[in-house]
Structure formats: structure tokens, C-alpha cells
């Protein structure tokens, strides 16, 4: 039973640490952990496609942005509560991604990767021209919307805890998938899709499921993130920087592992924080990310977890 495996409890511990660390009052720590939680969510879900099935999704930000739009729109224009708005966002984006997936998942490797950028660009262009969603100016939320959650200050804490929960769910999702028959199939697809199909792995269905599953939690995270900022516009919602960073994080930590994205997110955020405060490097965020990625791809494609597992194979019993 999965519940008996140590890693299940390690994830739980991580969630508790995130939730408890700011102790309900350290706002600065909370904000930095919140960003980490977003990164971990994006990277873990990206990993379902990238690390398991071997499909790079360059435009995964589209799930985050669309989820944000759905939530902000439902709350701002339709007057719904946070819960229903998030749910509608998550489900809608999952269904939409199933639709996109039907088209682009027939493509392999490189073509698929390019098509995901296309999907992001197409959605961004659509939203920019879509007046009900504010077009290129975006949507502003009134701070009155924070009242039902106990006022702005309290709401920010609630949003944080919800994001930590989403992060936790992402890690658990990764874990359950990897330990399931579905995961076995995805990993086989990632190794050799044709051989997997000959063995009976229903590749089209599994890829579509993975793609759609990888959209749900980022969409909810997007809803929370943009609700928190009380503002959303196409340029931010569909900014490829975040999905690029998610790829770097996943590769850095170790694609195909569950702990990898979390480790990568933590390290990357530390690095980024240091870069932003250093006077020489503040503009060089993406440069550093690029150099990192280049080195990893050429010299350590398994990422940090890959290196640890080679050095200490017994680690595999505790971590995934």
C-alpha cells in the first residue's frame, strides 16, 4: 500500500513545513515560499509529460494563464466565490487541453514541442482580442472581493495555504501516477513509444490523459495567483518565462523523479533570489537559467536526483 511507503510521508512532511514555516505572521517568508510552491506545482505537473512520457511542453504556462483568467472572470464579472471559480477554472482548462491535445499529441518530439508554443501563442492572441476578458488591458479585481475571506491581509494567508495544498496535491499526483499502471505506460512511452504501443500501451489515450491531468492543478494555481494579484493581463498570463523556468527546474532537479522538481524549484528560487539582489546579475536571470540548462543537458541529463541515485542507489528506496 502506498501509504506505507516512506515517500508518501515525506511529501506530507514537506507540506506541513511549508504551511507552518511562516508561523502565520512572517510575510516575507510566506511570499518567497509561495513562489516556490508555484514553481513546484508547475514543475511537478510538467514532469508528467516531460519526465514520464518524454514530451516537452514549452507552452505549459497556457494552463496557468487560462486558469487565472477563468477564475478572475468568474469572481470579478460573475460574482462567484473563490472555490467555485477555481473549480470551474481547473475543469475548463483540463477539458480545453484535452481538445488541444487531440490535435497536437499526434505529433512527436520536436514537432510537439513547437506546437505547444503555438498553442500558447494562439491562446494569447485570442485572449488579447477577446473583449469580455478585457482584451489587451486585462481585468482588474476590486479589493472588495477579499472581504468574504476576512479582508485582504487574511485572504493572502488563505490563498497561501490553498497554494500549498495545490502544491501538495501536485506532488501526490506525481507520486500516484508513477506508482500506477498509468505511470508504467507513460514511462514506457517515454522510453520508446513505438515499442510501447506494440506491447499494448494505449498511447494516444494515455498521452491525452497525461496532458489533461498536467493542466488541472496549474490552472487552479493560476487562479489563486492572479486572484491574489487582483489583476490579470495577457502579457503576464501567457509569459513563456515561467514555463521555461519550469523546464529548467525539472531538468535541474531530475526529470522523471518526484523529488527532483521540488529540489530543483528550491535551488532555482534561491539562485534567482541571489541574482536579483546582486547588482551585477539582476538582468541575467534567464542567462543563468540557460547556462544551467545547457550544462545539465550535456553533462547530467538525469539532473541532481540522477547524480544522487548513481552515487547512492539505496536512496531510491526512500525518495522517488
Amino acid at each position: 500500500m502506498i501509504v506505507r511507503r516512506p515517500f508518501f510521508w515525506i511529501i506530507g512532511l514537506a507540506i506541513l513545513v511549508f504551511a507552518a514555516a511562516p508561523l502565520g505572521k512572517d510575510v516575507e517568508l510566506r511570499e518567497s515560499l509561495l513562489l516556490a510552491a508555484v514553481y513546484i506545482t508547475l514543475a511537478s505537473n510538467l514532469n508528467l509529460m516531460l519526465g514520464y512520457a518524454g514530451y516537452v511542453n514549452f507552452g505549459s504556462i497556457v494552463f496557468f494563464g487560462l486558469g487565472g483568467y477563468f477564475c478572475v472572470y468568474c469572481m470579478g464579472s460573475l460574482g462567484w466565490g473563490l472555490g467555485p471559480s477555481l473549480l470551474v477554472g481547473g475543469v475548463s482548462v483540463s477539458l480545453l487541453s484535452l481538445l488541444f491535445g487531440l490535435g497536437i499529441l499526434r505529433l512527436r518530439g520536436v514537432h510537439f514541442a513547437l506546437a505547444t508554443i503555438g498553442v500558447n501563442e494562439a491562446v494569447m492572441a485570442f485572449v488579447t482580442n477577446f473583449q469580455p476578458w478585457g482584451g489587451s488591458t486585462g481585468i482588474y479585481l476590486s479589493t472588495g472581493l477579499f472581504q468574504p475571506l476576512g479582508g485582504p491581509a487574511q485572504a493572502l494567508w488563505t490563498i497561501y495555504y490553498l497554494l500549498v495544498a495545490v502544491m501538495g496535491l501536485s506532488l501526490y499526483l506525481s507520486y500516484f501516477v508513477k506508482s500506477s499502471k498509468f505511470g508504467v505506460g507513460l514511462l514506457a512511452i517515454g522510453q520508446n513509444e513505438d515499442a510501447a504501443a506494440v506491447l499494448g500501451v494505449p498511447a494516444p489515450r494515455y498521452k491525452a490523459l497525461a496532458y489533461s491531468a498536467s493542466a488541472l492543478l496549474p490552472a487552479i494555481a493560476g487562479g489563486l495567483y492572479f486572484f491574489k494579484g487582483a489583476f490579470i493581463q495577457p502579457a503576464d498570463a501567457f509569459d513563456l518565462t515561467l514555463s521555461t523556468e519550469a523546464i529548467v527546474i525539472t531538468m535541474l532537479g531530475g526529470q522523471g523523479t518526484i523529488f527532483g522538481p521540488a529540489l530543483g524549484a528550491y535551488l532555482y528560487e534561491e539562485l534567482r533570489g541571489w541574482l536579483l539582489t546582486s547588482p551585477t546579475f539582476s538582468n541575467f536571470q534567464l542567462v543563468v537559467a540557460g547556462v544551467l540548462l545547457l550544462l545539465i543537458v550535456q553533462f547530467a541529463p538525469g539532473g541532481l536526483m540522477g547524480m544522487f541515485y548513481r552515487r547512492w542507489p539505496r536512496l531510491k528506496r526512500f525518495l522517488e
Binding site: S179, S180, K181, V184, G185, L187, A188, Q191, N192, D194, A195, A196, A197, V198, L199, G200, V201, P202, A203
Partner: protein
């Protein structure tokens, strides 16, 4: 009783080349059928047409009573038809057991993960890889990889196993072992359709032989009959007068 696999008037063209033409044959339950022919005769193409890698231009493929013509490979596998490849394709990043588990999960019985692992273990033991279950597939020798390919296909507990040159590249000792394994597989109730170039092996293993030449069926029958068919000898050796009676 009707055949397990029925190939009826199968045809496939690639550009100007008729790779397979008007091919018909059948595999009975529990039978070992050998598919032989000179290089380029279209044997692997026949496999690809049967298990759905290519869709045929004409003809029909029936398996266990169902029409599987042109069905994608994963559907065909789900019905109980497994296949190995001439150039082995192990999942390099996985262990032997993990490789076989993939086969066991998605075959005819659609086993849940735990039972799939057990079935995988059985298949691995049957082919002689029981002592290397946790070895990375990458580290196996060619003989090991061939056995892994076989075990992986077997793990699905298929009704029919298609073997594509499973003896190629093996030394005589390994060949002898593999022949025993193939016999053991047949004993366990699996029918086998095999492509092979090693004449002595395939003649001694098969109950029935189909000879292909330039995509068409040249001859068919029990091994002894086919071996002395002048048309077959001509196709292989070029001179029907060179009837030696036996292969290499």
C-alpha cells in the same frame, strides 16, 4: 476448428515496390509456423501488417475470430497478439523486471500492477533471466536483450507470439538454449509464428512452413516437404539441380 490467425490475400505497396502480394496463410492454435524466405522477401513487412504498424493496401487479417486489419498495434496487443523485433528495442532506462511488467500490464489480461509484476517475473524466469531481474536493460548482452524482448512479449500471456529472427546474432550455445525456450513456450499453450534464417533451427522447430519470395507465397507445407520443393531451392540457391536435401 478455425485458425487462431488468418491472413487472407494480404497486399502492401511501398512506392513502386510490391512488398507483399496476395498472401494467404493461417496459424492454428498451439502450432509453430515458420516463415522463411530470402532476404528482402517481405517477412518483417508481413509482421508489420499483421500487428498494425502498417495498414495493408488489400486483404484481411483475422485473429481469434475478430477482424484486426489495420488496427493500431496497441489494440492488436490487447487482443492477445505479441511480437518481438528483429532489432531489439528494450526500454533502456528500465530494469529487466520493469521491462517485462510493461508487457504484463497491457496484454490480453489487462492485469493490475501487482499481478502484472508477478506475471512478469514468471516470464523472465521462463527465458532464463530470473537471476537478473533488477539489472538495467542497458547492461545486458545481446543474447540477454533478445531474451528480454522475448520475456517482455511473453509477459502479456499472449495467445500468439510472433518472433522476428529471435536467433540472429546468437552463438551456437545460445541458439540451442533459445530453441529450448521456444519449445517451452509452445508447451505452455502459446502459438508461435516465427521468422528465421537459421534453417536447421526453424526446420526442426516448426510444424508448418510458409516460404515467401518477393512478397508472394512460394511454397507451404511440413518442413520436409518444403525443403525438397525445387522452387524453394531455386529461390535460395539459384539452381534447382542443387538439391542437397538439407539446409546448413
Amino acid at each position: 476448428m478455425s485458425a487462431l490467425l488468418e491472413v487472407d490475400d494480404l497486399g502492401k505497396r511501398f512506392g513502386g515496390l510490391q512488398a507483399v502480394g496476395s498472401l494467404s496463410f493461417a496459424v492454428k492454435e498451439g502450432e509453430i509456423l515458420g516463415l522463411i524466405g530470402p532476404n528482402g522477401a517481405g517477412k518483417s513487412t508481413v509482421f508489420n501488417l499483421i500487428n498494425g504498424v502498417f495498414a495493408p493496401d488489400s486483404g484481411r487479417v483475422g485473429f481469434r475470430g475478430a477482424d484486426i486489419t489495420g488496427q493500431p498495434p496497441y489494440r492488436v496487443a490487447r487482443l492477445g497478439l505479441a511480437r518481438t523485433h528483429q532489432i531489439v528495442q528494450p526500454f533502456a532506462g528500465m530494469t529487466v523486471l520493469e521491462n517485462c511488467t510493461v508487457g504484463a500490464c497491457f496484454g490480453r489480461e489487462n492485469l493490475p500492477l501487482a499481478r502484472a509484476r508477478a506475471a512478469a517475473r514468471e516470464a523472465a524466469v521462463l527465458v532464463g533471466l530470473g537471476d537478473r531481474l533488477d539489472a538495467p536493460a542497458l547492461h545486458l548482452t545481446i543474447a540477454g536483450k533478445k531474451r528480454l524482448e522475448l520475456a517482455r512479449a511473453l509477459s502479456a500471456r499472449p495467445a500468439l507470439l510472433m518472433l522476428d529472427e529471435v536467433l540472429a546474432g546468437l552463438n551456437p550455445t545460445e541458439v540451442a538454449r533459445m530453441i529450448d525456450i521456444v519449445r517451452a513456450i509452445r508447451e505452455s499453450g502459446v502459438a508461435i509464428l516465427m521468422i528465421e534464417h537459421l534453417m536447421q533451427a526453424i526446420m526442426s522447430l516448426s510444424d508448418h512452413i510458409v516460404v515467401l519470395n518477393s512478397g508472394r507465397k512460394l511454397s507451404e507445407g511440413p518442413p520436409a516437404q518444403v525443403a525438397s520443393d525445387p522452387a524453394v531451392v531455386e529461390a535460395y540457391l539459384g539452381d534447382p539441380g542443387l538439391v542437397q536435401g538439407r539446409g546448413r
